[in-house]
Amino acid sequence: MAEKIFMKGCEAVAETAVRAGCRFFAGYPITPQNDVPEYFARRMPEVNGVFIQGESEVASSNMAYGAAAAGVRSMTSSSSCGISLKSEAISWMAGANLPVVIANFQRGGPGIGTIQPAQQDYLQATHASGNGGFRMLVLSPMNLQEAVDMTWQAFELADKYSKPVMLLMDGFTGTMMEPVELPEPLSEEEVAAIRASKTWAARGKHGGPQHKVMCGPGLDTRISQEQMNERDAELYESWKTTEVEYEDYMTGDAEIVLTAYGITGRIAKSAVKLLRAEGIRAGLIRPKKVYPFPDAAYEKLPLEKLRGIVSAEMSIPAQFAEDVERVVHGRTRIVTALSSGGEVLDRAAILDAARSLMK
């Protein structure tokens, strides 16, 4: 077993990315994720990778697009209002079938909001990260070991589907420190083999067929935008069976189910045992991927028999709770525990919400 090292979230993500064969990163400074570009700036030269500080989030995300078009495992990161600027390139990545990993260390919003941790970008991440109605796999870790594992997984998934993948974190998981076990790095041969396997990547024809990285059909009359969108819609639909990932914690005999994702999922998890000590049979559903949403996790609960669900998130108005409501569809009560604007959700708010359901 590899030894555990004590790392900051941003750096653990960046180091894992390098180990997963990421050889291009571009970013633009924004709190609370400055440690990501700063780490890559030091680290990329050691592995013959490329780091560029872009002139904006618009430029840096398009740079990540350009590197992916060359077949290189590529990444960009930002926080909230910076992600809005990246939405142009993210939409193009989806349209051009380019694998790129995008990390969002969420801060307050709307607009410039606050620099403190938040989960205000849920709907943007899961429903519309750019124009055109595309969907993305969105992974959200609750601790740094999960952040490491999900970073690795994000690169695998991006390549598997040739699509952008988002790592949805927050100012907390980005800046806190925890012991993590890092994966063994891919060898240079493995990194080269991954690049070589992307036979669609542009590189010059070199006696072969033309490589065209286009977003949409362009002027190609052999395929229509509708056909391309239908193909993508099938893919997104298939994710609902192949890519759902969640943690089910002690829901077996539960009368109350807490549900939350990311760092809030961790706070909620710690509330489960406290509630049980009070004699309240609590359980937890924690989506690890927030897209596709784990409908099945809620469907298999005895919803009609529950006293209710507590949906917790660091967003006002609630966003994640809308997806929970969509699935539960009136079959049990849902109460929310919310915070916003940099206030970390107090576990007491979750406990109080759960107790209110016992009345």
């Binding site: 050889r23 291009f24 571009a26 490329v50 560029i52 872009g54 002139e55 904006s56 618009v58 430029a59 840096s60 398009n62 740079m63 990540a64 697009y65 350009g66 590197a67 078009a69 060359a70 077949g71 290189v72 590529s74 142009e88 390139a89 193009w92 051009a96 542009a202 590189r203 010059g204 024809k205 070199h206 006696g207 033309q210 490589h211 065209k212 990285v213 286009m214 977003c215 362009g218 002027l219």
Partner: protein, 246 residues
Amino acid sequence: MMEKVYSRPAGIFEGAVTGFCPGCMHSSVCKIICEVLDELGQLDNACYVQGVGCCGLAVTYFDMDTVAAPHGRACAIASSFKRCSPETLVFTYQGDGDLAAIGLAETMSAANRGENFTVIFVNNGIYGMTGGQMAPTTLLGAKTTTTPFGRDEREHGAPMHMCELLNQLDAPAYIARVTAADVPNAKKARAAVKKAFQYQLEGKGFSFVEFVSNCPTNWGMSPLESLDHVHNVILKEFPLGEFRAK
């Protein structure tokens, strides 16, 4: 036997159906690029990044690798692409709205970093693709669909001169303004494009060739009138020449 003195250059699709309007200089620019790449033996090793605008129509011409860029972002994409593929000859193909308005930051920043790729900039003084709106390069007094009373310096600013602007930066290695509006100038343009690509192949850094071009369709002129207009009016505002050759 008759001697073949002229043919379609390699690098342009056989039987290509052009999307460009009749008399548009875009076709001449595409042809020059292919001739030079062929001469340098680089057709098979080239990748161009398409801007959005009529330059995007080059996709019906160029039989070589390509990456499509969002409007204005070609220089950002070419920067990362080239750094990840230093062996590939990389050029962007961009219009004036693309390069000098929405993409100004990407253009200036890539130039300032001295990125080792080539920009082919087609300055037709207008937004051709979207139907003739004012571009950053539109001449003062010129009527466009968004300057119906003529471009007014106090309201719209004066035309932007990209070669001159770029010439303020330390990093760029090669900067030239050319035109293909007549045969002698087309020959000079060919030489400039060749030099720009050679600079890139030698790893000298950012190279930039601006073509003063035309847009007969949106200028409301016949092709010949538009060429006269280039000679008599546009070139007075946009003088030709090599601004820098490091």
